[in-house]
């Protein structure tokens, strides 16, 4: 996936163990390439290992993965059908804790 101009891009950020699988902290995706979170995540999961890190089955997130769009949990929005567009930041987060 190639880098695209910021104006037309949306950003996918990977955290913690998911970041290790993807090998990078974030990627930029052309905004027109995905209309919702499901399409977006499918487009960045370009290997079986990456797919297993995010999805339990086709169209179903792993139970321990939280996805945020602009800091809001998609479970509080429209789930995987939450629309995404230019400038949005999507975060893929496994469980973590501070202290």
């Amino acid at each position: 996936m190639s880098s695209v101009s910021v104006e037309r891009a949306l950003t996918v950020r990977f955290f913690s163990t998911v970041k290790k699988v993807f090998g990078v902290g974030e990627v930029e995706v052309a905004s027109g390439s995905a209309v919702d979170v499901a399409e977006l995540l499918a487009s960045v999961c370009d290997s079986q290992e990456k797919t297993r890190a995010v999805f339990a089955a086709a169209g179903e997130l792993r139970g321990d993965i939280t996805v945020l769009v602009n800091g809001r949990n998609i479970a509080l929005l429209q789930g995987l059908l939450t629309p995404v567009g230019a400038g949005d930041v999507v975060a893929v987060v496994p469980p973590m804790a501070g202290g």
Partner: protein, 614 residues
């Protein structure tokens, strides 16, 4: 014969130099378990909560739990319980490491330290042999030097809890340090120890801990370990608690420039991944306390330059307070400030938060440069290290910081820039984007705190693997919603009260153990029937309520169950939580009602009777 508990209390009168061993009260043990709960019960029964926290009339209790030292996962904690010189409230600061298990193996559930020694002393406990020794030669040493010196004088196998110069200088947020880098960190328990002229407690123990139902206990332990989420544990090995910083920033609640905003453009520079890639000494495995599969501890090293040094940490909270909240993106300076706090024995949260408050007050012209000695602006990396040392030494402006940022605000005419609750500074979560956290902060008996009811975990992650969410059928929570939070916050506070009382680490309950598993561990260890889930939670509720009774008797009314004006009235200016304030006024009445308290936050007679509180 008691199981789980040793059944012994060591009482040390520092005024007379006498020590006695007395039996643990079985009813108190059953009803208050250990650690935080047992500690507050004994303190509540033995002192007038209205006493001056730094007077000989206050007592200092070291309290283990019935699971401490049993081999249960993460069961390596003790709690230091006293009246806080920072807040005037109950103080209960927990620490992990080797000290707690060794205290238990020496044969003591509690050490009650009372009075005040005429001269500096340290306490040496070698199983049944107990001595108070002269500490003149180690008074003034930092915590790392103290531990080494005491071990040299006693036994290299001794485990040592001590104060550093901050405790000696009565810094109101001084810690008790143990095992080099582990801290009973908050609320100034180290200052109380300093006020008693007690430099250290060294223990060596050879006794074990007996459990009531060995087969049942092993079965409960096995079940707990089997639910461990190994994938996440691996992450803890590598980034420890700093790993969460990026996520907190993603939610827009990473305190930045004295809680002015929850996002910034330098979070990547101070993330857990950055720490692991740069200053961390052990890249793949953290440092573990006894019996802990998580190994969240960090060791960092700065090889060259003005901040050169090595030590434990920094933890996430430290990075948040010295880093983003002070506007500092220099990881070496953050680590160096952390080293100073650990060596001096000082709470990194209150230190960093107070410096951030001073930075804002300086920039607004409320604190003159002549008082500080130099211009103190956000982003000044050198200043955080320098001021941490000055605070520990009560040197110059450090003498002002050493009393905490609430009192600093009073000195300079406004407490509007104090970011905390009950005179204790906030840790690294801006509650405007975490409504449950806002209620938890406001109502916590020891003041602002993130680990006395981890409401931020519910807010950040939606739900945990706990019954208090599963029984409600909850699959996700909205951190910006307030109407559903009062019952959840009440329950999570009671649940974490039990965690702090049993002797286990919070992280066990984040990664694996739920309420029933913990209850089974306690029941099989002690032989006490807790009355199922309801009885278990009622015990937590009892402890939480007696802490509130302690505060009320200390003169702390519910007027202190509030938040800074900035959190209540100034909308978050940017980020995912933009436009939010904490809607505390909407949540507090329902919370009081659920607790069985009246409108003034006083515990009703019916609730006191229900919980067996006289």
């Amino acid at each position: 014969m008691m199981y789980g508990w040793t059944g012994n209390i060591l009482r040390v009168d520092l005024t007379t130099g006498t020590t006695t061993v007395e039996p643990l009260d079985r009813d108190k043990a059953k009803n208050y378990i250990g650690g935080r709960g047992l500690g507050v019960k004994y303190l509540y029964d033995e002192i007038d909560p209205a006493v001056d926290a730094l007077s000989p009339q206050n007592k200092l209790l070291f309290v283990t739990g019935p699971l401490t030292g049993t081999g249960a996962p993460g069961a390596n904690r003790y709690v230091v319980v006293t009246k806080s010189p920072l807040t005037g409230c109950i103080a209960n600061s927990t620490a992990a490491g080797d000290f707690a298990c060794t205290m238990k193996y020496a044969g003591y559930d509690l050490i009650i330290l009372e009075g005040k020694s005429e001269k500096p002393v340290y306490l040496w406990i070698d199983d049944d042999r107990i001595e108070l020794r002269d500490a003149a030669e180690i008074w003034g040493l930092d915590s790392e030097e103290t531990i080494k010196a005491v071990q040299k004088a006693t036994s290299l196998r001794a485990k040592v809890a001590c104060i550093g110069p901050a405790g000696e200088n009565l810094v109101r947020f001084a810690c008790v340090m143990n095992d080099a880098g582990r801290a009973a960190g908050r609320s100034g328990v180290g200052a109380v120890m300093g006020s008693k002229n007690l430099k250290a407690v060294a223990v060596h123990g050879t006794k074990g801990v007996k459990v009531a139902d060995r087969a049942g206990f092993y079965q409960a332990m096995d079940a707990a370990f089997k639910t461990l989420e190994y994938e996440y544990v691996e992450e803890f090995h590598q980034t420890g608690t700093p790993g969460v910083l990026s996520l907190v920033h993603e939610f827009g609640v990473l305190p930045t420039r004295n809680f002015s905003v929850g996002v910034n453009d330098f979070a990547d520079k101070i993330s857990g991944e950055t720490l692991a890639d740069t200053l961390s000494v052990r890249k793949r495995m953290g440092v573990a306390c006894p019996g802990c599969p998580v190994a969240c501890g960090r060791v960092t090293k700065i090889s060259t330059g003005k901040f050169a040094g090595q030590g434990f940490g920094p933890e996430y909270e430290t990075i948040g307070m010295f880093g983003s909240n002070c506007g500092v993106d220099d990881f070496e300076a953050i680590a160096a400030a952390n080293f100073v706090c650990n060596r001096m024995g000082m709470d990194t949260i209150s230190t960093g938060n107070s410096i951030a408050s001073a930075m804002e007050m300086f920039e607004k012209g409320l604190i003159p440069e002549s008082d500080i000695g130099f211009p103190l602006e956000f982003g000044d990396a050198d200043a955080i290290v320098k001021l941490a040392q000055m605070t520990a030494d009560r040197e110059g402006f450090g003498d002002v910081l050493a009393d905490g940022s609430y009192r600093m605000g009073e000195k300079y005419g406004t407490t509007d820039y104090f970011m905390g609750v009950k005179k204790q500074e906030f840790p690294s979560y801006d509650p405007r984007g975490l409504q449950g956290m806002g209620l938890g902060y406001a109502t916590g008996p020891r003041g602002a705190c993130h680990i006395r009811g981890e409401a931020q975990d519910l807010d950040l992650y939606g739900v945990m693997n706990w019954r208090l969410t599963a029984d409600r059928g909850l699959e996700v929570l909205d951190p910006l919603r307030s109407d559903d939070k009062p019952p959840l916050v009440k329950d999570v506070q009671d649940w974490f009260t039990m965690i702090d009382s049993c002797g286990m680490c919070n992280f066990m309950f984040f990664l694996m153990v739920d309420e029933d598993q913990m209850r089974q561990l306690i029941e099989t260890a002690t032989g006490v029937d807790m009355g199922g889930y309801e009885g278990f939670m009622r015990t937590g509720e009892r402890v939480f309520n007696i802490e509130t009774l302690f505060n009320r008797r200390a003169g702390i009314t519910n007027e202190w169950d509030t938040l800074p004006k900035r959190m209540l009235e100034t909308p978050m200016p940017a980020g995912p939580a933009k436009g939010q304030v904490v809607r505390l006024a909407e949540m507090l009445p329902e919370y009081y009602e659920l607790r069985g308290w009246d409108d003034n936050g006083n515990i009703s007679d019916a609730k006191r009777e229900e919980l067996g509180l006289a």
